[in-house]
Amino acid sequence: MPGTGLLAAGELLAASDPWVRWDWVSRHTDDIAAATRQHVELTVIAVVIGLAISFPLAVAVRRWKWTQTPVLSGTGILYTIPSLALFALLVPWTGLSRTTSEIGLVGYTLLILIRNTVAGLDSVPDEVRESARGMGFTARRQLLRIEVPLAVPSIIAGIRIATVTTIGLVTVTALIGQGGLGQLILEGLTRDFRTPLVVGTVLSIALAVVADVSLVGLERLITPWAQGRRRTAGVR
């Protein structure tokens, strides 16, 4: 059991170890910034690739009913497998690399994104679809110009959950040598030193909150027509 002896010895010191030692923070601002940057990169790449894969799958699920069971079961099983196990299953093939992290992280976003995209597209009223057809829209234009914009709130809800979940999971990739802020958390564990642990945790939560709030802002920005509806809904 590597590290156990170290931890046991550290126990004695724990009583005098404050939660945050600001001198350590000020000496390691570069490391903290680099870890944060890596955390953001790992997250953004995962969510963007996740969207690129899940959107066509969501459209396929709606168009061809037979694809529904394999797509939802497959991504459901991916979602069920614990993150550490999924990374571990990939390590023999892709090594302790960023690729391994990204494949795993993308895997977790798929079910969330597909479900929300399908739900959003399903929620478009039939009258709207008929009007679009009546105006001479082709199936593809109808999808891109009418259905997708109306599904944006549901799709963004999915992106929000996927992003916040991914930000949490990135910390686990510290165990396969990546990790962003997870490296600080791991360092806190192996050195039994609270400061990096607290800094890593707090910044990770802060990233999740900032990402979530920004996505809500993005939704408002790209769905200006929903503004009035939101206001009336609030008054009721």
Binding site: T4, L7, I77, I81, A88, I112, T171, L197, V209, D212
Partner: protein
């Protein structure tokens, strides 16, 4: 594919099936820890969520709890627990309970709250008391949602219990953590296969439990045949 052959050989090795570090012991550690954490969390979370839902109070709190829970990395909760209660089984247990509570509170709250107001009024009109409405109407109708919360929590607990090998606890995560430390990727892979199988088994077992516990009258309406193998995704409700 000699790597996979090595993995098969690892599983065939009798020494991996006995003793403290044997598969049966690690598996039972993992299962017992998961059960203990989920049951403790259920005892805390379900009455809270159901009570709040019945009174229709504290909705903001109950709904946001799952969102907040999602924002805190489970890995961080686990490591923070070691700083509060030391290393070993105790911090693992505490962290897992803390993780399992939010989805159960949120889902049971939403399940009860979203019972049709008309159904509730009809029950009142038939002369049911508040408790009777809760037990005979709201709870059965909310059952799919409540159980979905339990499922989400249980699958998450199995996953995080894997990482708990890092804080000097056992479970199936030991193979992955030790294998990574020793660069023994055969052991890593074998551990991952075991953990993946356990989570899928947990998911399927709870899906079957859901079939049994959800009243026949609302089963066809609420549950979707395709969802047996699909982990319930946390509710996408705007905060």
């Amino acid at each position: 594919m000699s790597f996979l052959a090595d993995v098969v050989r690892w599983f065939a090795d009798g020494s991996h099936w006995q003793g403290t570090n044997g598969i049966p012991n690690r598996l039972s550690e993992h299962v017992i820890m998961t059960l203990a954490a989920v049951v403790t969390a259920a005892v805390i979370a379900l009455p809270t969520g159901i009570g709040l839902g019945h009174a229709n109070r504290g909705g903001g709190l109950a709904i946001n709890l799952a969102n907040v829970g999602r924002a805190i990395p489970s890995f961080a909760i686990l490591v923070l627990a070691t700083q509060v209660v030391g290393i070993g089984a105790v911090p693992a247990y505490c962290a897992l309970v803390a993780l399992a509570v939010p989805p159960m509170v949120t889902n049971s709250f939403i399940g009860i709250r979203d019972v049709d107001a008309e159904v509730r009024q009809a029950a009142r009109g038939m002369g049911m008391t508040g408790t009777q409405v809760l037990r005979r109407v709201e709870l059965p109708m909310a059952m799919p949602m409540v159980l979905a919360g339990v499922r989400t929590a249980a699958v998450q607990v199995v996953a995080t219990a894997t990482i708990a090998a890092l804080v000097a606890w056992g479970g199936l995560g030991r193979y992955i953590i030790d294998g990574l430390a020793q660069r023994d990727f055969v052991q890593v892979f074998a551990g991952a296969v075991l953990v993946a199988a356990l989570s899928v088994a947990t998911e399927v077992a709870l899906a079957l439990l859901q079939r049994v516990l959800v009243p026949a009258g609302i089963r066809t309406r609420v549950s979707d045949k395709n969802e047996t193998f699909v982990a319930p995704v946390p509710v996408a409700e705007a905060a």
